[in-house]
Symmetry: C2
Subunit: 307 residues, 2 copies
Amino acid sequence: MSKEFEKIERFISLFGPPPAPRGPGDDGCLLPVRGGHLCMTTDALVEGVHFSRKHFSLEEVGHKALATNLSDLAAMGAAPDFWLCALGLPPRLGGRQLEALARGMLPLAQRYKLKLSGGNLTASPVLSITLSLGGWAKKPLLRSGAKAGDKLYIVGVLGEASAGLWGMQRGLRVPKCFLEAQKRPRPWVEAALALAPYAHAAIDVSDGLLQDLGHLCRASGLGARLEGGALPISEALWRCFPKRALSFGLRGGEDYALLLAISPRGARHMEREWAASPWPLSCIGSFIDLPGIWLDGRRMGTRGFEH
Amino acid sequence: MSKEFEKIERFISLFGPPPAPRGPGDDGCLLPVRGGHLCMTTDALVEGVHFSRKHFSLEEVGHKALATNLSDLAAMGAAPDFWLCALGLPPRLGGRQLEALARGMLPLAQRYKLKLSGGNLTASPVLSITLSLGGWAKKPLLRSGAKAGDKLYIVGVLGEASAGLWGMQRGLRVPKCFLEAQKRPRPWVEAALALAPYAHAAIDVSDGLLQDLGHLCRASGLGARLEGGALPISEALWRCFPKRALSFGLRGGEDYALLLAISPRGARHMEREWAASPWPLSCIGSFIDLPGIWLDGRRMGTRGFEH
């Protein structure tokens, strides 16, 4: 058995027995088909582009790779079900390090009972992790579904992940929660599934609020009004970076917050149902029948974060 | 709109309108669910590992990336349906080159009406193409389904792809068909779908006949007997490399031939039905209730080709 197969075996074994009816170890995976929509997503993390080994442990890289893909599924209103894992491994990265990567993925994979249904390993000059996730949506959320008058909700906080990156890259001491936000983003899967029935549209904030909200607006043929005072930018962020906090919040990337468009009527039902929401849920504005994004009456550009 | 989105737009536009109900441009893809099994596969090509830009045009790289994934689906008995395309692009690779890559994928994507249902672009030090394909199988073919006494069939030829690589790397003049086999492998999709009803098991030969047949044998708890004279090793290969032809045929990689285990009774039906088979179909041996692979009575190792 070659080293490659050993590495695959080792990797797979961490995720428990193969899913029914058949998973890793064959040329592809097979999954019984159910009602609803199959939802697939794919996303990659590349060393030197999305993370540096200087600042990230392999566990953190593994966590982040799976979390960002889960965030995409959540933004589609899809319940995660299975995943394919394609890895590019530099020669110096051995079996123990591959295991560290897998250990970083394991808690999320277990939490969401994700079936590792296939994958690929190849040599590569730098570490790269390309995941494809599949899930099932009864009522899928598209970017194009928002209506004028819908309220704009957000789950999660803004700006801390980019503040964490900023601090890390400059060797500044920043609150631990900023580093956590950068290294261990939380995918809002449960929130998305709970709120999907009330929502017309959704997107996850990966490239900055303005940029991703801009995508949602363009896809829906609308604009949006934002209330600056309602943005979930933490006091810690304001205190730590008084001059940059708003910019981090509006244009910083990798928040993996969830944006939802919900009708005023839906919002009333939703707020009643989720009066004691376990998630950091805020209403930050509304959709309008006018292009552009307006923050407290001022028109904003939608350029965001590039990795 | 950032350069990345422009590149994505440009890439997607080559493949025609997005699939129903929703494809690229959202966080993930949505597909209506049908009867049967969903079959997913993922495979990557990395510059410097699987190809060099010196020997491969970008069109050839694009073709090969899609062909190898289609070959995996074929080996599962699955009809290809959709794909996700994750690309790692070095800075020097511009829009025109990305288009060349896409043009290489286009003929196969069109031939099999593949829906480009999602993807990801990222910067990367070298070009990498990671595809995930999805298809539907009424009767999926696993590696583990072979029975003792089954005949071993192969669709395709052996050894020419590795002979092509050998020649290319050494600057030798080799027949054009060897280079074609290396650069433009043909996925046996139609053959696989036509023959699947007769087959117990299948695998595609990507790492050499002995290695991949070894996988099939181990998964099925069997061994196999091969008849040397029946192996589809071309006269051109024997003539060009009299001393190496057998080694290329048995251990050379990237043939993307299709191995099938078919019961003697199924084989009779199949041979009647496909008397005038449009594919290069050969019976090269049979499965036996004894571990190991035996070529004309001699036990063979199953070490194959590593990229």
